[in-house]
Symmetry: none
Subunit: 263 residues, 2 copies
């Protein structure tokens, strides 16, 4: 086998398996670890993979993220904490629905840790991150691609949602308010969210503190429609109390918090 052939097979191997250790590749391709390391270095230069200690992972997971028109890069760590906390409400074997959005996207690495999961989503970006996870059954919701958010929305999506039933839906929003409920800028996207909530036994809203008391254009539900709201510890105390008194179950994912042990 030529070096170039081996390199292309290594790249393929890593992309398909999602990873590849130096030792593993060395025995698979019957060359020394030195050679594997040299190959990995070159493949990394070509931006095909990303090296790690002990091996390499596909580049795409690093590559993909931006291209988001609605690229809210603020409150990154808050969103991560919210996603981590949310993971505690997922059990092996669950069928879960994940809405598109920057917060929900952080669920991807958490989902990968499960060994048996069915994930339904309308997020192209999430799909991208999970597409090579062999332990996850992925169901893509069909419909029209909204390029600004890389979300699949519209009547086709709504139609499919009417025929599906999931355990838990993780929904994102642009605004949550007691008076105006849950709101988002796009009418069609709002409608799709409405159907998402309808087909789930339980709805969990993921929204960092910046969304609190914000009102966007189109309403897709009220606070009474959600079973739980997971947010971060920068949420002002008085807002927490106001929503609590109104009957909303708020979970605060703070930095030192451990993951809840399943609902």
């Amino acid at each position: 086998m030529f070096g170039e052939e081996r390199k292309s097979m290594i790249s393929k191997y890593i992309i398909e398996h999602g990873r590849g250790s130096v030792l593993e590749l060395s025995t698979t391709f019957k060359v020394s670890e030195s050679t594997i390391r040299r190959d990995l270095k070159e493949l990394e230069d070509e931006k095909l993979i990303k090296r790690t200690h002990g091996g390499a992972i596909p580049f795409e997971s690093v590559n993909f993220e931006p291209t988001f028109g609605e690229k809210e890069i603020r409150y990154q760590s808050e969103k991560e904490r919210i996603a981590l906390y949310s993971g505690g409400f997922i059990q092996e074997g669950d069928i879960i629905l994940i809405d598109s959005g920057t917060t929900t996207l952080h669920l991807a690495p958490i989902l990968k840790a499960f060994s048996n999961l069915t994930v339904v989503t309308n997020s192209m970006t999430l799909m991208e991150q999970l597409k090579n996870e062999s332990n996850i059954d992925i169901v893509m919701l069909g419909g029209s691609l909204r390029q600004e958010t890389q979300a699949i929305v519209g009547p086709i999506t709504d139609q499919i949602l009417q025929t599906l039933h999931v355990d838990t839906a993780f929904i994102a929003t642009n605004g949550i308010s007691l008076s105006a409920g849950l709101t988002t800028p796009n009418l069609i996207e709002a409608n799709t969210k409405r159907y998402m909530m309808k087909c789930a036994k339980r709805t969990i809203l993921l929204a960092d503190h910046s969304k609190a008391e914000k009102i966007s254009f189109s309403q897709f539900g009220t606070v009474a429609d959600i079973d739980m709201w997971i947010t971060d510890d920068h949420l002002p105390k008085e807002i927490y109390q106001k929503f609590s008194e109104a009957g909303t179950e708020i979970h605060v994912a703070n930095s030192h918090h451990t993951i809840p042990t399943v609902s």
Copy 2:
């Protein structure tokens, strides 16, 4: 044999076998290794092959992004020509359906040239390539992700297809035969292809010559179900005649052919 003849045979050999070592080529063509190396150098200058230590591999396999679980990387240039030719059957404003597959994937760069198109597809890979094209309305077919081929298939996909109607469907196949019809290895994928053909006013099959007279596991249609078969100029003459006599409209996309000027 003239040097040029030998060179073109070497190039063909490498492309069809996917590789060729200097020693192997030297014994096959009964010339010294020096001569083979000289030939390979010239072929590389012409961008027909890529040299490696010990031999050479096809140029396309280097060029093509290997992020595909799908293996078939052979006959790249044939597939490109088929896709280019197929582009001639697309008009501005059309609503077209594109099946997943390595041949159909080559349609992506051609579609980008249009300024008003609606593309319906079940191919994750195609979707990825088009997702930021603002002049294309993209409709993703929903359903389960089949990881081996990165195609969306299954009952949900079929259900959506029953509610859609498109101008032209571009379908890929693993085998086309007069007796066994159109066949593919996966049962569920076959069913989805069947629905695809059903919802299109016109069905165009894209299949390079290597698919001719091949029979795979599951049949999704007969040659009578397609309106046109676009293939490459390596299709043996007798196969062309056999299919033509049986009433199949075959278009051969050869290297010197200009693009047809819309159906």
